[in-house]
């Protein structure tokens, strides 16, 4: 009826606009589905990761609600097992890996002055393998037929130790969904790693020598090489597990001559370097953010590169520190104690260099810098508790306790997630052309920081008091009641902070301030492209003469290339 009061022309416009809008939307969606552009694929990776960050966060909150009070039955024991399995798997494979490789996809070609990745179609294939692998994992919630009937998600922990994964103890398909989805995602990850290595080694612009590459690119090169080495044993182990479960194999069947410890070795040969696969890109983000907001060049660039390569090498020889309680020989224990402690040297160099970069700088406390600074302090603490756990006798006391959970969440959240947030606040203007709201950003930062410390600082203490990991509930006389409630409240605060972040992403995309091509007055090549960059990145091939090409252009009287 209202339309009848409108002028005829207006009515015609409205009726015609609907199918056009629908067509435009479909074309827009189709453009994303068939894209081989590294920037679009990078954004797809990151959006996918953020969506699963929310999903994994909900799972974490469910776990914390269950543990907030003693003798609680908020979740059933079966669902609780599924929650912590899916939370771990999601956060490592669907959040950490996807966001890290999303950043690599988006930034590496831009930072080295290339037009795209070396293998654009492989790049698209890799993303979709990762995406479908994750969906297959979550389909188990609907289609997985496990011990408890339909709708059984994997419930064997993200480490899936044998012999729990054997058919006898994990009937049905829930564990198979876990193994198969990781195999599928693994091939996607390998494709991206190959692409990053090829792009970095063969597509740098004129003048971009290896020692002039931004540290983020160096870190991604190292991480990609590490990925090739570490994903392979995981995939092999998953295939062996599938053979055990479907073809009567006995690789991990302890009752038929197999070995459960072999699974542990396979898993941790992947699992520990995996921590570095996730944390090294976080280092790369910090190494880009901290200098720009300190208005100083990074301190000790060659040492940072050497330390990164050193960390990657050492990380391949430390896996069995996850297995001190298995009962290895004293020689084995000693080797893994010492090799684990050795990681402290290159990581210490990095922390020293970040602090030295900030020292004496004109610091700007924008949101990316706040997250990066918090990371430096938190990672220091994470490193120290890591050294504590590397001492075998100490580990014997605290293994499988909440102290270990606190330690690795200090790494995975305190270092990796904080830097992912730093990176998103830093490069969001480049990707969208809009600034994220600083007010919402600061709310996000402070709430997340407070929630993080309430949760994970307290978790160390409850671990000291002997609370084991993965337990469904506890009796009220253990002395853990109030501490667990505090930990859960901290988790809730972090959840609120992440919701603010998600709102900021959407709100700023629609109404954020225009960014311009270089809103942070930064120095690396991506800031010389428009925001968002066109499909071809650079209209003319860039040429660089130093590690800070934009500094050279902004300060022609005092360029870096004279001194490098």
């Amino acid at each position: 009826m209202a339309d009848q009061t409108l002028p005829i022309g207006g009515s015609i416009d409205v009726t015609l606009a609907r199918p056009e809008a629908r067509t435009a939307l479909l074309e827009w969606l189709h453009g994303w589905v068939v894209t081989v552009d590294h920037k679009r694929l990078g954004i797809l990776y990151i959006v996918y990761g953020i969506v699963f960050l929310l999903v994994g966060g909900v799972e974490a909150l469910a776990i914390r609600l269950q543990l907030a009070w003693p003798d609680n039955h908020f979740l059933s024991p079966e669902l609780y097992n599924e929650m912590f399995t899916m939370h771990g798997t999601t956060m490592v494979f669907l959040v950490g890996m996807t966001i890290v490789f999303g950043f690599a996809n988006y930034l590496v070609p831009l930072m080295i002055g290339a037009r795209d990745m070396a293998f654009p179609r492989l790049n698209a294939f890799s993303f979709w393998m990762t995406a479908f692998g994750g969906l297959l994992l979550y389909y188990s919630f609907i289609g997985g037929f496990g011990l408890y009937g339909m709708g059984a998600a994997p419930d064997v922990g993200w480490w899936a130790y044998a012999p729990l994964t054997a058919k006898a103890f994990s009937p049905g398909h829930a564990t198979d969904y876990w193994a198969l989805s990781l195999i599928v995602m693994g091939f996607g990850t390998l494709g991206t790693a190959i692409n990053v290595i090829a792009t970095t080694l063969s597509m740098r612009c004129k003048g971009m020598t290896l020692m002039r590459m931004p540290l983020f690119v160096w870190l991604m090169l190292v991480v990609s090489a590490l990925t090739l080495v570490t994903i392979t044993p995981l995939t092999a182990a998953q295939i062996m597990l599938t053979i055990d479960r479907y073809l009567g194999g006995h690789f991990f069947d302890t009752q038929a001559g197999g070995s459960a410890v072999v699974w542990m070795h396979f898993f941790w040969i992947f699992g520990h370097p995996e921590v570095y696969v996730l944390v090294l890109p976080a280092f790369g983000i910090a190494s880009e953010v901290i200098p720009v907001f300190s208005r100083k060049a990074i301190f000790g660039y060659p040492a940072m590169v050497a330390a990164s390569v050193g960390i990657a090498f050492v990380s391949l020889g430390v896996w069995a520190h996850h297995m001190f309680t298995v009962g290895m020989t004293s020689v084995g224990n000693t080797f893994f104690v010492l090799s684990t402690m050795l990681v402290g040297i290159p990581t210490g160099i990095k922390i020293f260099n970040w602090v030295a970069t900030v020292w004496g700088g004109k610091i700007r406390f924008k949101t990316p810098m706040l997250f990066a600074l918090a990371f430096v302090f938190q990672f220091l603490i994470a490193g120290l508790t890591g050294i504590m756990l590397s001492v075998a006798p100490w580990d014997w006391q605290l293994h499988n306790s909440y102290f270990v959970i606190a330690h690795f969440h200090y790494v995975l959240v305190g270092a990796i997630v904080f830097n992912i947030f730093a990176g998103i606040y830093y490069w969001y203007p480049k990707a969208t052309g809009r600034m994220l709201s600083e007010t919402l950003g600061k709310w996000h930062f402070w709430l997340f920081l407070i929630g993080f410390h309430i949760t994970f600082d307290t978790m160390h203490y409850v671990g000291f008091l002997g609370m084991p990991r993965s337990i469904y509930t506890y009796e009220p006389d253990r002395g853990w009641n109030h501490l667990n409630l505090i930990i859960s409240l901290g988790g809730l605060i972090q959840g609120i902070a992440v919701l603010i972040f998600a709102w900021n992403l959407i709100h700023s995309y629609l109404r954020g301030k225009r960014a311009g091509n270089d809103p942070w007055d930064a120095w690396t090549l991506e800031w010389s492209a428009p925001s968002p960059p066109p499909a071809y990145n650079f209209a003319t091939d860039p040429e660089v003469h130093s590690r800070r090409p934009l500094w050279d252009l902004k300060h022609p009287e005092d360029p870096d290339w004279k001194y490098e």
């Binding site: 453009g31 068939v34 081989v36 179609r121 393998m129 479908f132 091509n517 499909a535 209209a539 902004k554």
Partner: protein, 293 residues
């Protein structure tokens, strides 16, 4: 590798750039792979469906890139990109006449550290052997402690440690040589960073701190060895090493710290032909106080 790798530049403003054409074959292949795997936990027909998609995806993909890659022409748009800073004023460290310098400005050549390590290593043998003679009436006692007796079980007797063993002697020589060389190199690197009294700080304070750290942890690491170490004599040996190594390093001339110096110059080797091979390396600065700036 795609054509983008070659950075085609035949376009001008208002021209076009060739980029890989969008394609749906990668997503079809990925979906096919996932379905093929999912069939294992659902139905064989899902795997068959996945297999069909995989074959289609591969064929489609190959046709995209063979015999030539499919490209699309993207028009170049004139974007107004400004590369400028509002922060023109640059504050600098006051380090000398140059605007910039790598810190420390001067350092000792690598060879001086090696020399210091060798000299200190020889010097510290004397108090160690003296301790063996006075306390255990055998010069082999400290040698054997270093060479392996300390790592063995606590059941070994003092008399056994005080006798000569070829294997422990060889191990002790290797450990002692490598450690002295590495610590000497560390001295060469560290001394310029110590603002004043480098020999006192590097030669006395650092060995004392190191000994304190070792003393506090040895009881946990190796209680048997800890019980056999006389910490007073240990301190004397360490300080002897530190002072001698520090003096030898400090007597060597400093060279300027710059990454653009030839490797041989940084090593402290006087090889004029090699050092002049890099015209941008600045003046050749071998050694000696005459080169201080």
């Amino acid at each position: 590798m795609t054509e983008t790798a070659q950075h085609k530049t035949e376009h001008g403003q208002g021209g076009t750039i060739q980029l890989p054409a969008p394609t749906h074959w990668p997503i079809i292949l990925a979906f096919g792979c996932t379905m093929a795997a999912a069939g294992l936990v659902t139905s064989v027909w899902v795997s068959v469906f996945g297999g069909v998609l995989m074959v289609s995806g591969c064929v489609g993909w190959f046709r995209q890139v063979l015999p030539h890659e499919a490209h699309e022409s993207v028009p170049v748009v004139d974007h107004a990109v400004t590369i400028a800073t509002s922060r023109r004023l640059v504050e600098r460290l006051q380090i000398g006449p140059e605007q910039r310098a790598l810190l420390p400005v001067e350092t000792y050549p690598v060879l001086s550290g090696i020399k210091g390590g060798i000299a200190g290593g020889i010097a510290m043998i004397l108090p160690a052997l003296l301790y063996g003679l006075i306390a255990q009436h055998s010069i082999w006692y400290p040698v054997n402690l270093l060479g392996g007796a300390g790592a063995t079980s606590s059941s070994i007797t003092t008399a056994e440690i005080a006798t000569f063993h070829w294997s422990w002697l060889l191990i002790a020589i290797v450990i002692h040589s490598i450690t002295c060389l590495l610590v000497g190199l560390l001295y060469g690197a560290m001394l310029p960073m110590l603002p004043r009294r480098p020999v006192l700080l590097g030669g006395v304070v650092a060995p004392l701190l190191w000994t304190g750290l070792l003393h506090s942890s040895m009881g946990i690491i190796n209680p048997a060895l800890d019980a056999r170490i006389h910490w007073g004599w240990f301190v004397i040996s360490q300080v002897t090493f530190g002072v001698v190594a520090g003096l030898v390093v400090a007597r060597e001339g400093r060279i300027r710290t710059t990454g653009r110096l030839p490797f041989f110059a940084r090593m402290g080797i006087e090889a004029p032909g090699l050092m002049e091979s890099n015209p941008d390396a600045g003046p050749p600065l071998p050694r000696g106080k005459e080169n201080h700036r």
